[in-house]
Every structure is written in structure tokens, then in C-alpha cells.
Subunit: 213 residues, 2 copies
């Protein structure tokens, strides 16, 4: 995960790029995530975030004008970093890597953020939009790219509805990570995310029309 792509500074903020500012912004994003996990969106206050980050509320407000701005900024900062889309020249490897990347992301800070704000996004369109941009779009792009390569290699027939395939990747990973309590998922030693990623792969390949070996 990275906080390189922090939100644009607003007018009046210090120039970007000074290490002191980057550290301060990072501390504010960390504090926002922690407060969201502890108290949810409606229980979060900018004062508590500032206190936890060790900055004044005036400093916080120089960069984020409101609580909503701050949480939207945190969703951008903690956007799912799925890592590079490496071309393995093989659908099974490409899809397996994406599932593992998704498992890792969901179990890390970006997954914790998503989980903490999903309820609020039901009635907060700005937040819903940033979650879509930060969590759905990057995954859709990876899926579209790897399907296109597999079709070009004639591994699978053309895919009529690639966005549904993206939902079949994102959905079970999210439901398994968020809804199945530890020990209830039938998983072995591995993490729940890694476990479901491995079990999902053969079904996804078959859904895409890969022939059984």
C-alpha cells in the first residue's frame, strides 16, 4: 500500500513534497483509518483524528475542509493497490495472481477502510463514488486486460460480459473476507482470502470456458 497519491492540497497549504508534510499527511490518513475502524463514519470526528495524528485541527482543515473530505481523501490514499499486472502468458496464472493480489489487499488497510465505510456509502454519494473509483475500477481494468490477452491467445472464447467476470472476482473475495468468521470457512492454515482465492480459481476458469485438463 502507498500514500503517494494523497489528495491534492487545497489553496493555502504548504508546497507539496517536503518530507515533514508527507509524514504529517500520512499520520492523518493512518489516524483516519484507525478512527473509522473504532467508531465508524458517523462516530468519527476531525478533532479525534487530529489528536491521534498529533496535529492541530487547523492543520487538518488546511488540507481537508470537512469530515467528508477527510474520509474521501483516506479512501483515495488507501485505494486498493493491486500491484502490477504482470503478463504470465497464461490465463490460470494471470487470474490466480489477481485473486492473490485481491486477497492481500482486502486483508490489509484498504480492506479495513472499505469495510468501515461501506455502510455510510449507502447514503453518501461522494463516498460511494470514491469507493467505486478506488476499489472497483482498478479491478475491472485488470480483469478486462487479462481476459483480452487470453482471448487473443485463443485460450478462451470471446467474453460477452467481462464486467460480470470482474464481479465474480471481487464479490466472493469480499463476501468471504467480510462475512465468514475465522474458522467457519473450511480453510486450512492459510488466510481466509488466500484460501478462497485458490478454491475459486478452477470455477472461474470453467465459467470462462477453459477446457478441463
Amino acid at each position: 500500500m502507498t500514500t503517494d497519491h494523497l489528495p491534492e492540497s487545497s489553496a493555502g497549504a504548504a508546497p507539496r513534497g517536503r518530507p515533514r508534510d508527507a509524514n504529517r499527511d500520512r499520520a492523518l490518513m493512518d489516524a483516519t483509518l484507525t478512527e473509522l475502524q473504532l467508531h465508524g463514519y458517523s462516530g468519527l470526528t476531525t478533532a479525534a483524528v487530529a489528536r491521534r495524528a498529533g496535529v492541530s485541527t487547523a492543520t487538518l482543515y488546511r488540507r481537508w475542509r470537512s469530515k467528508q473530505d477527510l474520509v474521501v481523501g483516506a479512501a483515495q490514499a488507501w485505494a486498493e493497490n493491486l500491484g502490477p499486472d504482470i503478463d504470465h502468458k497464461d490465463l490460470r496464472s494471470d487470474l490466480g495472481a489477481l485473486l492473490q493480489d485481491k486477497a492481500t489487499a482486502l486483508e490489509g488497510p484498504s480492506g479495513r477502510l472499505l469495510r468501515a465505510v461501506l455502510g455510510e456509502a449507502a447514503h453518501n454519494r461522494a463516498l460511494a463514488d470514491v469507493l467505486f473509483d478506488a476499489f472497483v475500477i482498478p479491478l475491472q481494468e485488470r480483469v478486462l486486460a487479462l481476459l483480452e490477452r487470453a482471448v487473443a491467445r485463443q485460450e478462451i472464447p470471446p467474453v460477452e460480459d467481462p464486467l460480470v467476470v470482474a464481479e465474480m472476482v471481487i464479490g466472493p473475495m469480499v463476501s468471504h473476507t467480510f462475512l465468514v468468521p475465522p474458522g467457519q470457512g473450511g480453510e486450512a492454515e492459510t488466510s481466509p482470502g488466500t484460501d478462497i482465492a485458490e478454491r475459486l480459481l478452477p470455477y472461474l476458469l470453467r465459467a470462462l470456458g477453459v477446457r478441463e485438463p
Copy 2:
């Protein structure tokens, strides 16, 4: 959706079954859902729920000893009611009906409750367990039953990992309903849930090894 299966009354409560009590309990469950949607778990207070339901906090506490008890009770009361498992003698119809039932449930009160408490369940094991029992188990049972019938009819080969198939039903329905803002999912006139249910069906059938017509 039904509130027939409200939690057991605790010692000292009035005898069950009197219409006045059922109406009061129903009002309290309605109020709990509304407060959860407005303020999340951490922002919910038993006083606000009692006020909204028009009962005293003493009345609320006679039945639910704590805020957690109340929310767990609400999760049981609003458990996903997937409707009866009708045997259509055909996998496509059985699975299509389940997907539609799931779409309807997610767009109704049980889906709104799930969404409002998913964040809290990350660090509240009692809540995580009741969500699993109320939202995952009933769907797994429907999936297991319909797969068994399809295998018995020799429509599909035996299914090695039916719980993964359940995740492929629940997951995309949840991710599409909770993560794709209206108008971003490529759906037509229908609701997002109904739309994704229809688009998912051919991929699920193929994943299960149904031959293309």
C-alpha cells in the same frame, strides 16, 4: 421479510404472543434498523431506539439487556428471508430463482441491516456470528440442496466444493449491490440486483459444468 422469529424474551418479560407485545417488538426492530442506517453501530443508542419506537428504555431493556443484544436481535429479526426452495426440476430455474430471491433480500431491510453493521462485525464476534448464521448459512443450504438435485438429475457432474459455489452466488450479489453506485453498473431499467442476477446466471451454469445449449 418477517419478524416472527424475534429473539427469546428474557426473564421478567410479559408472556409472548400478545398482539401488543408483538407490535412493540416490531416497532423496536424497525427503530433499530433506522438508527443503524442513520448512525451506524457505534452511533446507535438504546435511548434513541426506544424514543423512535415510542417505548421507555426500561421496556427495551426488559427484552434486550444491552445495545449489542438489541443489534444481534435485529440481525436475527431481519435475517435474510430467501423464501421457499421450490424444486423446478431444472438447475437453470432453481439457480435463477435463488439469485432473484437474493437480489430482493439485499435490496430490502435485511440488506440494509447487513450493510449498516458489516463494519462493526469486523471487531465484534457476536455480531459476526449472527450475520453468518442469518445471511450465509441459509444461502449455503439453498445452494447445497439445488446442487444435489442437479447432480441427481445428472445435469452436472458432482460438485467438489459447493461452499465456493455459494460464495459465487452471495459474493457478486453483495459487491454489485453495495459497491456499484446507481447508473455505474451498466444495468438497464431493472434494479441493480435483478440485473446482476440475470447476467451472472450463464457464468454460474458454465462454472458448474452445464453444457452450452
